[in-house]
Symmetry: C2
Subunit: 204 residues, 2 copies
DNA sequence: CAATATTCTTGTCAAATGGCAAGAAATGAA
DNA sequence: TTCATTTCTTGCCATTTGACAAGAATATTG
């Protein structure tokens, strides 16, 4: 490809971030560039943590490449996966970030990751100074909230097998990046059950 | 009570709304009054709907008195309760309201209700003109999101009986206002199971 | 109040899921 | 490549939950 020199060799290429900001249709090209200029690069090695429980999350992260997951511990001390993050998504824990309280969740890189972040103070400054970013921020919040509502409905209504099938179709990347045990807790079942469901499923 | 003439006989008393706006510590007394002045009274009779599926929700409602629930229909056509609303809460469906799309959910009064509402346009106007209301709005969003995350974790981790017990302790009003069938679907179980859990529970 | 409708409980049985443990398979490190 | 570790699968059995249906209890309506 003739433009590969430009697009892949530049280590501070914010193209994807800018494209993402614009994809909501709430931010113009110029403003997207202006917003993006406030973001700084961040790399997280596989297995390392972007957030550990007990900490107050101070970074609003856009994931450029890589794959992450969030998890909490239940009362028995077992890990429960609460979310997965593919590239081109914002990665943050709402409550800790906005309420400035210690997080109950961890956010961990499942592969080597790179992204762009701004701090809490910067987010607020930009919310105040750039109405379009405010709208964008609200949109991210609404989107995350809505997605969780849908997931909750599925949890109440669907069988474990249906939840598995849906996840497989809507988020196949998850199965390339996370262990089955991790996925099982996200689906609200044990790894044993997931294994059996997959066995049943492959029979069809 | 000597002030009862003022507080209970005035049918457009916005005290609770103003108090609620201020309770987040994000809005000053003066601003709270200013914001409240944009809200209009709304009454909903028992069993009537504030929102019906298919509609685009256009009202941001503060529930002054009464009790409501939100529910959706699953693939088999059964009602699944997605939320309960007691007085002194904001009542709205995030996705329909902010994304201007038809709602999948219904919001219904379980008792006679009265509250205060503003329209989508007014919300946006106020978000734009009053930074404190913007903060308030974000806080409501974050709060709802966080509550749902906690509920999801409980759904994954806790047994049906534990979820029942927790709800009984944290939201006893629900049991005074909703049928067991309604509560059961909120807990993600059938009414039969809830009945048995209650039987077990009362034995202790 | 009586009649009707709705909600709640309970029994029986089936299906889904979990707990535990052992072995197979895959992965990672030396 | 080899060894160690982690992940995944599978068997066995217990527990939880659901489906369905009948009857009891409660609420609603005329």
């Amino acid at each position: 490809m003739e433009h590969s020199l430009h697009s892949s060799s530049n280590h501070s290429n914010q193209e994807k971030l800018i494209y993402f900001l614009r994809s909501t249709n709430l931010v113009s090209a110029t403003t997207a560039r202006e917003i993006a200029s406030n973001f700084r690069a961040k790399h997280i090695n596989k297995h390392d943590f972007h957030l550990q429980e007990g900490q107050i999350l101070n970074e609003y992260l856009f994931l450029d490449t890589g794959f992450m997951r969030a998890f909490a511990h239940n009362t028995e001390g077992n890990e429960v996966t609460t979310n997965f993050y593919a590239q081109n998504q914002v990665v943050f824990e709402v409550s800790s970030f906005f309420n400035r309280i210690p997080s109950r969740e961890n956010i961990q890189a499942l592969t080597n990751c790179s992204g762009w972040y701004i701090t809490y103070e910067q987010v607020n400054k930009l919310f105040h100074s750039i109405p379009e970013f405010r709208e964008f921020g609200r949109s991210m919040l609404v989107q995350g909230f809505s997605a969780l509502k849908i997931r909750m409905l599925s949890m109440i209504t669907d069988t474990a097998e249906e939840r598995y099938t849906k996840l497989l179709h809507t988020n196949p990347e998850i199965f390339q990046n996370a262990s089955l045990k991790t996925i099982a807790s996200y689906l609200g079942i044990t790894d044993t059950s997931l294994s059996r469901i997959r066995k049943e499923f492959s029979r069809k």
